[in-house]
Every structure is written in C-alpha cells, then in structure tokens.
C-alpha cells in the first residue's frame, strides 16, 4: 500500500523539480536565449510559415477569400500538373542536367586538383587557384552577358569568328533548343569546377607527406601514387560531396536556367526545370495552385533524397554524416 501511494507522489515531485531546474537554467541563461530570438524569428518568417503554406498546393486560391478562406482543391492541382506533359519534361530536364553536372564537374575538378598538387611552387598554385575561382564569384547575370557575347546571332564570337574556321553557317543559338544541353553543361562547369577543385585540393594537401615519401622510396611512380594514395585518401570527401549533390538532384540553379538562356521561349523544351517552371507558372501565368503543387512535389522528393543520402554517408563514414 505504502509503495503504491508513494510512487505517484515521488514522480510528481521529481517532475516538478525537473521543471524547476529547467526554469532555473532558463533564467540563468536568459541572456543567451534572448540572443537567439532574432534568428529564431527569422526562421519562423522565412522558413516555417512558408512550410505551413504548402497547403496552398491543396487549395484553389482566390485573392478575395485569401489563403485560409479559399476552397480546398484536394489533389486537383497535382492531377492537373501530372496530366500535363510539363511534369515529365521538367523532371527529366532537372535530373538529367544535374546528373551531367555531377559527372562532368567531378571529373574536371579532380583532374585539376590532382594536377595542381604536382606543382611545387606555391605562388603559382595560388595564382591558378584564384583565376579559376573567378567565375564562381560572379552573378549569373554577368554569366548571361558573357555567354551572349559568344552566342549572339548577329555579332557573337561563335557565329562571326569561330564558325568561319570550320566553314559553318550562323546558328540562331537562342532559338535552337538542341544545343542547350551542351551549352549549359559547359557553362555550369566553367562556373563551378574551380570551386570544387579547390575543395578537393584542400583535402589533398591535408594528406600526410610521409605516405608519398615512403612510396617514392619504394619506387612507386607518380601515377601509382595518385591512384593508390591520393584518391583513396580523399575518397570520403569525394563521396560526401557527390552524395550531397545527388540529394539535391531535384533542385536546379534558377539563374543558370533562366538568365543564361535569356528566358527564351523556343528553348523551353531543353531549358525548363522545376524551379523555372514554378516561377513562370506563378509570376507569368498567376497559377498559384499548380506552381505550389510543383514546388511541393520538388520539396518532398528532395526531403526523401536527403534522408537517403545521409543514410548512405553514415554507412561510409559516420563523422561526415549531416545528422
């Protein structure tokens, strides 16, 4: 009897003393907790309210009744989206472009990182690093200008100078969707390979020099050292970077697909991605329901992919996992 009656009391006091300790701690650390408030408020405004806003994808929005008053559309927006040919096209473009970017950028960046490591003069490696990082720091608007200076139909460098060397005629680049998969892969590599190369190079520099000294004494060639020492030792970095890229395979660089093709209508079959589609559906066609549905579809697939990628990273090297 005694045991029965005392248990709830002790747990109650334990709980209340736990909460007392907690509130005492909160009071003690109130200055620190207050410091987080601006950031927290920002996350609520910029991230959490829009997360709640995903219900827009299930609504038939009209501005008179507002977001909350508008009638529910059920899965109507999604049905409409997935019955249109656009859904397949934008998903295919987004995934295939990203797949090409991942492979091309990885190969070029690794090559550059391995080669720059062979140069012993530090001043020269620094010079190379800073020149090939330059494309990374400029905006996509500037990239669009640079591409335009090559591809402008009437006076661009390609049509007016380079075509002459090959005896080719002028091509109306901004009206011919067939060329753009190649153009965009090149432009993306131009902009991002330097950045990736620097990350891989930093990983290579971190390798203990003793491995190479031992290998040289044993008579291993440079090529053997590269494939047997350098690559295996930076493999975790390569795997993590690549898995992260794969986890965002449903997201696209809006600027690359919007600015660089100069928002040209005839190019849409090969330049429209989920992000540009959502933007155009919302701003130009005012179709809130369907653009929200496309955005929701993207977010959910991304979420699943990130969880999957993280699981894979945990398997490979635990300390590199995101969570």
């Amino acid at each position: 009897m005694a045991a029965l009656s005392s248990t709830p009391i002790t747990t109650a006091t334990a709980a209340s003393s736990r909460s007392r300790i907690f509130w005492k701690k909160v009071k003690k650390y109130r200055a620190l907790l207050l410091m987080t408030l601006p950031g927290l408020a920002y996350l609520i405004m910029n991230n959490y309210i829009p997360m709640y806003g995903v219900i827009l994808a299930f609504k038939d929005l009209n501005y008179v009744q507002g977001i909350w008053g508008s009638p529910w559309a059920g899965t109507g927006n999604f049905k409409f989206l997935f019955h249109s040919p656009d859904a397949y096209l934008i998903t295919r473009n987004t995934i295939l472009y990203n797949a090409a970017f991942i492979v091309v950028n990885l190969v070029l960046a690794l090559l550059a990182a391995l080669l720059v490591n062979e140069i012993k003069e530090r001043a020269i490696t620094r010079f190379y690093q800073s020149t090939f990082l330059l494309p990374h720091i400029i905006s996509m608007v500037v990239v669009a200008y640079l591409v335009y200076s090559f591809l402008n139909v009437d006076s661009g460098l390609v049509n007016r100078q380079i075509a002459k060397w090959f005896g080719a005629g002028a091509i109306s680049w901004y009206n011919e969707p067939a060329y753009w998969p190649y153009i965009l892969v090149v432009v993306n590599a131009w902009k991002n390979v330097g950045y990736l190369a620097i990350i891989y190079f930093a990983a290579i520099i971190g390798i203990d020099k003793e491995y190479y000294e031992a290998a040289t004494i044993d008579g291993a060639s440079k090529w053997r050292q590269m494939t047997r020492i350098t690559l295996p030792l930076i493999a975790p970095v390569i795997i993590v970077m690549t898995l992260l890229a794969i986890s965002s395979i449903m997201r696209s660089d809006f600027g690359l697909f919007y600015q660089v093709p100069m928002n040209s209508g005839p190019l849409l079959p090969t330049t429209n991605t989920i992000d540009t589609y959502v933007y155009r559906a919302m701003i130009m066609r005012g179709d809130i329901g369907m653009s929200a549905a496309a955005g929701f579809y993207q977010s959910v697939v991304c979420f699943v992919l990130i969880l999957g990628a993280n699981l894979a990273v945990r398997r490979i090297s635990k300390e590199d996992a995101l969570f």
């Binding site: 909160v26 608007v141 500037v142 669009a144 200008y145 100078q161 993590v240 992000d275």
Partner: protein, 296 residues
Amino acid sequence: MPLAARMRIPLIHLFFWLFTIASLLPFLLVFMVSITDESSILQQGYALIPSKLNFAAYRFLFNDFSQIARSYGVTILVTLIGTVASVLITALFAYPLSRRDLPLRRTLSFLLFFTMLFSGGMVPWYITYVTMIGLKNTLLAMIIPNLLLSAFNVLLMRSFFAGTIPESVVESGTIDGASELTVFLKLVVPLSAPIMATIGLFNLLAYWNDWYNCMLFVDTPGLMNIQYLMTKTLNNVQFLIMKAETSSQAGELIASMPTETVRMALAMIGIAPLLVAYPFFQKYYISGITSGAVKG
C-alpha cells in the same frame, strides 16, 4: 629521364594555362566589345582585338548616368546593411548554440537544421513575404528574404565558436561578474575575427550579386539594383532609356545609341568593382571555402 617524365610538369602548366584562359577570356571579350566602334561590330561582329576603338558606349552611359548611379546606390546600400545585419544575426544565433550547457539547445539546433532538409517551396515563401509582411517594392525585400540568415553559415560559425573559444575564457568572464552579453562582445567576438570575416565575405558577395529578390519583389525602376538593371538591359537594351521624358526624346536617344556596345559597357560597369576587388579578397575567400569544406 624519359621524355614523358620531362614533359610532365610543362604539360601540367599547359593544362592550367588553358584553364586560366578559359576563365578570363569571356571577360576580356566583353571588355573589348565595349570599347569597339559600333559600325565595325555591324561589319565584323564581336572580336577579341577591336579593329577600331571607340568609347562612345561609355560616353552614352555617362551622359545620363542617373539610373546606373541610382542602381549602384541601391546595391551598395543593400550590401552594406545586409552584410552587417546578417553577420550580426548569424553570430547571435550561433554563439548560444555553441554553449554545451544551454537549455533548449537541441530544440533550437533542430529548428535550424530542419530548414536545410525541407522547404515549403518558392510559392508559399513568396506569398508570405508579399501578403503577410508586405515587402513588395521595399529595400528590405532585397535584404531579408533568404539572404539574411543561412543555416549553413550558422553551423559554420557554431563549430568555430565551439572549437576555438576555450571554455575557460567564458568561465573567467562570468566569474568576474560580467554578463553573458559582455562576455560575448568583449571576449568572444574579438577572438572570432577570422570566421566573422569569412561569413561577412560570403554574405557580401551574396548581396552584391543578388538579382533574384529584386526580380521577384521590386518593379519600380528607382529601387532596382545594378544586377537587375543588367538583367533588364540584356534582354532589352532600350530599357536604359525607357524613362526618357517624351517619346520623341526617347526616339532620338534610341537612334543615337550604339546598342551592341552599350550593353557590354553596362556589363563592364556592373562587373568592374568585383573584378578590381577580387585580387585583394580572393585569398580570404579561398581560405573561407576550404575551412568550411574541411569539416564537410
């Protein structure tokens, strides 16, 4: 030594010279076009070596510089306010999270981290800012949405605080009776100059290069930043003179405008500050990305 071994280093240098040329050539082309004579472009197209020099495009732009100056003003103002505010808010959020004994630390970390995993998408985000907060056509629209705080930067700064600020520093401060805020401002911030500079540089570039927020939230020419002015002008070079008072005046201006070169001259004016500053900050930028990546 066999030939292949002797050629190894020169070949590597050749590879990097090609890389370097590929990086720089497009900038050179745009610059060269901007100082070429308009009529020689009509005849021969863009060329890396102008057949006839002419600075008419720059004269044309400087003749009515008000829109460009205005857009530059917007960009500079937004970049300054945005960079300072974002570094401040990032540090204020990151520092408490770096303190192991903070109550609610796990909850706060999770709220931050979850934003990296899931987003509501662009549509509800846009509608939140336009209808609930009313940011349309304000300077704040170019400062706040998405740019003010990045979860990644908070995590970067948190691990810097956790890794480089010795707990004894914080303890000695609090034992001496200093408040947490004083400890943060007087002891932690001075020790954290490298990470503040790195995050500041990242944010500065993000604000300077931003056109996305301007495109979404701004449609009055008086509030357009330089990147968005460049976007508008690339698609329609006449955008630059659209605000001319009368249509006859506008017609005259269009007739006198060297369209091809003006576009590229505007691009040069837009890129110039970054290109000039780049040699000075590239070292810090490179060490910033590598320090962030070494963990990742």
